[in-house]
């Protein structure tokens, strides 16, 4: 296998982008990544997108996006793994470069979610769960994560305030990110007084519905060095799956797919969790971040709530989690999220994260998750 480097990153401002179509938001981010890399010719492209069919009634993104990027007849692939589609696209791009099949690969992620009503978006997102045995009973994604929260609170004594502190921390970080959908701060009281969505989760425990895209350019590390670019290598890549239905899991307060994907990625990189300087993880709901910090081994089982309370995962803490603002504040255009996590980690490792820069960051980790943990993708990045 060849060493793989990220030589270009691109992301535009996320939000409710009513004036822009799916193709436009994708091409804007892709062009930023290509310009950043200083390349024009690509050998292949991989795009992560969860559900352009349900959100905008458009499939066949391989043709649409390569066409509007002006790259026909480049080979292109679209990958789908619910909210971890972006992370999976990165993994497929990584495999393509590492294997020697292609040299320069553009990896993108995109989701255009505001062309449908809130109800329709809730339905589209719900297709990441078991439609016949979860959705059929009136469950929603906030509902599924709420049940994980109740299980975690019951088993470990995690408190409602600790959940709120995840939102407070990520909005603090997001307030320093000009590309975030919601770059403002929230308070614990504000979270606790926000409207209930699925008890005990309130609207400020949930990531928003977002239009957005992100892109990175990958190439062999040797080629990157010759181009005299700041080289950030992808040194670890792990993926794992689990049951589609939450009810089938052995432990409702534990995300096994993230645990396995994390172990695989760290082992490939030859690193331990303590070697990592920053984390971008899938905080689709506040409880998710708490459970992910446990699954990755940042803290012991059941200690995720306490860790936020003690500031361990804040920007100046020992293990900063979601310096970008996370899905919570930055936004969550589902197919783009996994790629945007890579964009943030590369920014941090290049020292380009301005106000939210983690000093001397050399190694970062991304964790992207589909459904309630039915799939997880983890990558480890290292600066030269």
């Amino acid at each position: 296998m060849r060493d793989v480097a990220v030589i270009g990153i691109g992301m535009t401002k996320w939000g409710e982008l009513w004036t822009k179509s799916l193709r436009t938001i994708f091409v804007e981010s892709a062009l930023l990544a290509l310009d950043d890399a200083g390349v024009d010719k690509i050998d292949s492209m991989v795009v992560g997108c969860m559900s352009s069919g349900l959100f905008v009634g458009q499939e066949h993104l391989t043709s649409l996006l390569s066409d509007y990027l002006g790259k026909n007849p480049v080979p292109a692939a679209r990958v789908e793994s619910a909210c971890s589609s972006g992370g999976l696209a990165l993994r497929q791009g990584f495999i393509e470069v590492a294997s020697g099949m292609s040299d320069v690969v553009l990896v993108g992620g995109v989701e255009k979610m505001t062309d449908v009503t809130g109800c329709e978006a809730t339905f589209a997102l719900g297709t990441a769960a078991d439609q016949e045995y979860e959705g059929f009973h009136g469950l929603t994604f906030p509902g599924l994560y709420a049940m994980m929260a109740v299980a975690h609170m019951h088993k470990y004594g995690t408190t409602r305030e600790q959940l709120a502190l995840v939102a407070v921390k990520n909005h603090d970080n997001g307030s320093k990110n000009p590309l975030a959908q919601y770059p403002f701060k929230v308070t614990v009281e504000g979270v606790l007084q926000s409207v209930l969505v699925a008890d005990p989760l309130r609207i400020l425990d949930c990531s928003p519905i977002t239009d957005g895209a992100a892109a990175v350019v990958l190439c062999p590390a040797d080629m990157a060095k010759k181009m005299k670019k700041p080289v950030v290598r992808i040194t670890g890549c792990g993926q794992a799956t689990d049951t589609i239905a939450l009810s089938s899991r052995k432990d409702l307060a534990w995300i096994e797919s993230t645990h396995i994907a994390g172990q695989k990625a760290l082992s490939m990189a030859g690193r331990k969790i303590g070697d990592i300087d920053l984390f971008e993880v899938h905080d689709c709901f506040t409880i998710a971040e708490i459970m992910i910090t446990e699954a990755l081994g940042i803290v012991e089982k059941g200690r995720g709530g306490k860790a936020v309370e003690e500031g361990l995962t804040s920007l100046k803490g020992k293990f900063p989690v979601n310096p970008s603002g996370g899905l919570k504040a930055k936004g969550h255009p589902v197919g783009a999220t996994g790629v945007a996590q890579a964009v943030e980690v590369v920014k941090q490792l290049r020292g380009e994260a301005a106000e939210r820069q983690i000093k001397g960051a050399k190694r970062g980790l991304t964790q992207n998750m589909g459904g309630t943990g039915g799939s997880s993708v983890v990558h480890v990045f290292e600066a030269e």
Binding site: T140, G143, A198
Partner: protein
């Protein structure tokens, strides 16, 4: 889901709680599967789910998906039945404030929702506190 075939395909499970038991390791598959996730065996014998169990977790849905709009707020939970099978269903005939992890529940046959005025009327099981 405007297709009756999709609904009646699930009737054995939703109406009669039919499950399948692995002939090798005893794993109970609900809904039925072709491969046992525990031992890889491909042979199963028909069985019926236990009708009572205890609540493992729950939530109250305040923002419902479209077909359930007229029902919110409603409770949904995951229960572990006496035979070890875990499944998801609404929790009904209960006071939200009285819901607790570990509380005993039984399965009852109920109406879930209907697909407009001329569509399929969906029935299935729900949890009722004992």
């Amino acid at each position: 889901m405007p297709n009756p075939a999709r609904a009646w395909r699930e009737y054995p499970q939703r109406y009669r709680l039919e499950a399948e038991k692995c002939t090798k390791c005893g794993y109970i598959a609900f809904p039925p599967r072709l491969v046992c996730p525990q031992c890889g065996n491909r042979k199963f014998a028909k069985t019926k789910l236990a009708e009572s169990g205890k609540l493992l977790t729950f939530t109250i849905i305040r923002v419902p998906p479209e077909p359930f709009e007229d029902q919110a707020p409603y409770a949904v939970g995951i229960a572990e039945l006496a035979d070890g099978v875990k499944l998801t269903a609404q929790v009904v005939d209960c006071d939200f404030a009285g819901l607790k992890v570990g509380m005993p529940v039984r399965l009852e046959f109920r109406k879930l929702y209907e697909e407009g005025e001329a569509g399929v009327i969906y029935y299935g099981y729900k949890f009722v506190p004992e």
